[in-house]
Symmetry: C2
Subunit: 405 residues, 2 copies
Amino acid sequence: MALLVTKFGGTSVGTLERIKNVAMRLKDMKNQGHDVVAVVSAMGDTTDELIDLARLTGDNLSPREMDMLLATGEQQSAALVALTLQNLGCDAISLTGWQAGIKSDDKHSKARISGIDTTRIKEELAKGRIVVVAGFQGISPEGDITTLGRGGSDTTAVAIAAALQADRCLIFTDVDGVYTADPRIVPQARKLDQISYEEMLEMASLGAGVLQSRSVEFAMLYGVDIEVLSSFENKPGTLVTEVSNMEKQRIVSGVAGDKNCVRFALFDVPDVPGIAMKIFKALARENINVDMIIQSAMRDNRNDIAFTIEQDDLKKAIPVVEKVVQEISASGYSYTDEVAKVSIVGAGMQTNPGVAAAMFEALAEENINIHMISTSEIKVSCVIDEKELEKAVRALHKKFELDKA
Amino acid sequence: MALLVTKFGGTSVGTLERIKNVAMRLKDMKNQGHDVVAVVSAMGDTTDELIDLARLTGDNLSPREMDMLLATGEQQSAALVALTLQNLGCDAISLTGWQAGIKSDDKHSKARISGIDTTRIKEELAKGRIVVVAGFQGISPEGDITTLGRGGSDTTAVAIAAALQADRCLIFTDVDGVYTADPRIVPQARKLDQISYEEMLEMASLGAGVLQSRSVEFAMLYGVDIEVLSSFENKPGTLVTEVSNMEKQRIVSGVAGDKNCVRFALFDVPDVPGIAMKIFKALARENINVDMIIQSAMRDNRNDIAFTIEQDDLKKAIPVVEKVVQEISASGYSYTDEVAKVSIVGAGMQTNPGVAAAMFEALAEENINIHMISTSEIKVSCVIDEKELEKAVRALHKKFELDKA
């Protein structure tokens, strides 16, 4: 008997028929003697439909009110899953984020979980109930409803698994695991049986789209084993866990492409201490995540700074950058969203020199120009033209022989 | 400057266009210097759509989960009204029932407000904000979301008005006030400028449909002046308040018809003390409201008992009645929903004998058979065949000359 925390995304609960499948799977787990918590997203396009509705009220969409509106999507699907379970003769109860004790900061629309009071969940589990929790949401210190941002239901699930010291966190999704590359781009891509937290983290932050980064960070921090698996097929998925010896041998585990990328360039930035801080502090204040940063070689005590952000943040970023450019007396700025990021990820990279060089070589062979480069211990990323992305992913997948087991 | 609590029903917030009208009216009130609280229902058919969705999960719809599901409708409309106000340049905040401090008992789907903690509402008003509260919902002592039943948003508004000692509670609806009879049935029906709590209470409980009874009880108990008025036209409505001298002169204020009525008959009930208690206690235990009760003349120490309930409660009532019939050794029972209730209401009735007689005469003149009669100090009700209802309403409106001011 184990304590399992499961998570079902919007596609998995997209229709009442699919909700019935989800309920059947949960019932099976319960019948096998497990304690079961299920975290659910909003049904299908509910969140997008609510956003469209809100847009009709005007352009000024305060995050506090948007969270109030959007949190209803998960509340509805949680109640419907609980009703379906009850109709299958299975005792169940749905809880909103705040009822499940999910506490967050007050950064509406991008809130971070600050703690979980598991009292209510434990009480309900002790009654033999399947506990269905509305994902993606929490409550701020002021008692306002917050949302954790897109993909926040993953984080809810992993955080609950950590707080309950669950045996495993099962993330059911519309893909059946983590692949060496997007199979839609690379038909030879293979499903990985296992991947380390660090690798998954890089994959997630690179837009591989299977798990939200924050959820992987949580899992790594608290040692939660995550299994990513299909909600439609009954077969093993990919286990995200501590890196194993076997896995360490693999130099490159996967190739990820990310189109959700905008590149800003600031021209002729004075070369004075504290200037970079000014730019990035201003962006941080608006909750804009900056990904890569490149500072070009100095020339006449002035230099150019380039950085990338997510496309969602573009509208917020423009006035911030505009203001900073004036404040620091840069000569101007530009931005483009016709760029993309391609990355290779692998825990074995740290002990194998020459991986980055092989990557640049593969891109050069395809005549793909590299605009920016950034590296970490287990990852190399290049910003390239968006139109070259698929070609780049295929070339790298081949170069590192990822189709071979 | 006054403190106004307003309420807008589902039709008034049925579309984004209508929500904009609501927001304009609220903004006008605020600009006139008033403090404004707005209680809103779910948009249009949202509640019915959610119920339809829930029915697809099976027949067993636990009230606790249904409340969880349905409460999202008002949360959504509250957020959308707040967003619209903000887009009109008006500071506003939406609150769920629990955020607004609406405490209730745990009778899911029919919960009663047990108290209001106005701390948060007062804080937000003090910041100069229009406070938009999700109607129809509260929180149980266990921390579960409850709903107050159909029309519960009226009760939310009046209860908040009472708790805040508001100057007036404005109930905006799709009719422009309280009429002497339903204008769709009686074209000569007149709008009343004023009506007493007691009269309104009888009207409401008789299905006149303008205000929920519970909200009128609250208003009477706490002396809250309610104005019922149109959300589409800008003109005075009907004031529901303490009875005035002028109003006391009016013998009959209105005629109400109610089709939401099921009549049960229990045959050959033993004439033993405590038998009636058994029947009605069993129904009360299931939260079924019994309206009229008639016990026919005794015959061989056995007699027939008839009573009426609302149609919504029929499904719940049948097994209860079935069980009681066996327990008390009655010979059987029957029920029909092909009946309706027609009533005359008037505060002046108490001091004017012969009103009931005039009513029976009017019905007799139209050849309408009376199945059950019940009277209170300010009301006479008759159960008749449902198909005769409109004819009865018209006859009574004419008999008591309600078309004349």
